[in-house]
Amino acid sequence: MISQEIVDKYEIVVGLEIHAQLQTKSKAYSSDPNEFGVDPNTNVSPITLGHPGTLPRFNKSTLEYGVRLGLACSSKINYENQFARKNYFYADLPKGYQITQDKTPLCTEGFIDIEDDSKKHKRIGITRIHMEEDSGKSIHDLDPYNTLIDLNRAGVPLLEIVSEPDIRSPQEAYNYLTEVRKLVRYLEICDGNMEEGSMRCDANVSVRIKGSDTFGERTETKNLNSIRNVYRAIEFEAKRQIEILENGGEIHMETRGFDAVTGQTISQRSKEMAHDYRYFPEPDLQVVFVDENYIEEVKTKLPPLPNELKEKYINSYSLSTYDAEVITEEKYFALYFEELTNSTSNYKSAANWMMGSIKSFLNEQAISIQEFKIKPSQIAELIDLIDEGKVSNTIATQKIFPAMLENHETNPRDIAEKNQWIQQSDTSALDEFVNEVLEKYPEKVKEYQDGKTGLLGLFMGEIMKLSKGKADPKLTNQLLRNKLDL
């Protein structure tokens, strides 16, 4: 084992390659369905199967999704897009080459903002995003004598997102991936599900002595199937490399796999035996031009992005960073909050409703906000009722909200009126505060009644706090004395 002191001499350098499967209806270069979970080899076509004489035709949606992501990462969008063939021989790649982009990636020079280990803002560069296609699936463990091939996935459109080697810790990699996943989900181009393989990640890891301005030799760990495993693999791989270097060894460029059970990376093939992909331009697909008009068109259709919303909630709505993060974690949850804050300007209360009663109801029922029947305008009305002093917060959360869940057509004002939960007079509203405070301090009440009348000030103070200073002091004093003086 190597001491933390020695580990701390080194800096970890990581670049990530992410493959995101696009949620198009049909495949990248053919019309067979892009669909998960059907019988093997049913979603195929002569193009997918690589039959001679077939010609690929490029899917419009692949381009649009790519431009969406590019714009969301502030990338430059390339005007002239060529496709290229990446040649390798493998049983799940029927054509013998993958159609990808080589010299003219769709997007370049983008970035994604994340938090570093000390929660400070950090910018991670996106070198390139390019369009390509997935391979089929090889199944090694179903048949003891053969490998089985399912080509449903062959030709499914992918975006490959390549980061700059800007990542400096496992946590930064974790944060970056979380951000990318959130982004593709907001853009509705990929479901971001790493466990099911619709988002996959390879990590290029190297280490160097802190302060050094050259990179160390790197290894590439492939096919990490969860964000957590990316974290673990980088952590393990960096330590492994430091240990080798400290023992006077050197790092060799190689491809490694990750064993999620042991948490270790394992050598798979060295780069000396590496593939030679012999890239050349794909002559079967014409150049695709992406002009300014098209980019503008895609831009106007972009949804609000998580970082923009987060910033707005912190800076304009004065929400805490934590609240803003929780609310923007999921797109439709954030959009619900957007609608809610169109109808009420009590942002803090709106946030509390979202993160409290609404979120716990969704969790309890295991449903998404899209299945939530109460409209944002109804929640806004409930907030108004509280703010007007018509109902207490307790009544609102414990009585009215559950009643709205029972019958989501009725509005909160009607529910409150029908059940006589509206605080009719000032006296009854105050009464509730008085009772609440007296119940909270039974010993103090006894002390008061035993002659310690100075405690009246304590009770008054508590009631003022509860009423947010709106209680009429004279009336409160009167009510208190009525209750306390036997």
């Binding site: 198009t24 209806k25 049909s26 019309s31 067979d32 369905p33 019988d39 093997p40 080899n41 049913t42 979603n43 195929v44 076509s45 002569p46 199967l49 039959h51 035709r57 490029f58 899917n59 419009k60 949606s61 381009l63 060529q82 040649n87 390798y88 021989f89 493998y90 049983a91 090889s138 199944i139 090694h140 179903l142 048949d143 004598y145 053969n146 490998t147 089985l148 091939i149 399912d150 080509l151 798979q268 093939r269 593939h275 030679d276 012999r278 331009p281 002559p283 697909l285 014409q286 150049v287 695709v288 031009f289």
Partner: protein
Amino acid sequence: MGVDKSTVDRIAHLAKLEFSDSEKEGILKDMNKMLDFVEQLNEVDTEGVEPLIYMVQEEGDLREDVVKLEISQEEALKNAPDKDTDFIKVPKVLKK
């Protein structure tokens, strides 16, 4: 630029093919013949000329993202040398 035996070995490896020594001799001869033929192009001065990739210099037409399923699973598996009802079978591959 001639092809030597190690180039033949390398290309065979990339194509996952195995050849006997006598087969390799033949391949070596053929490949050199092909390269010699193509070599004639080097006589033309292409200094400053953009490589021609596409025979038609037109913008590619984009396909609408509409699903069309044109063949059945049975048809899809028809040409596979080895298969069962669902899958194409290939010799055991352990690691990619």
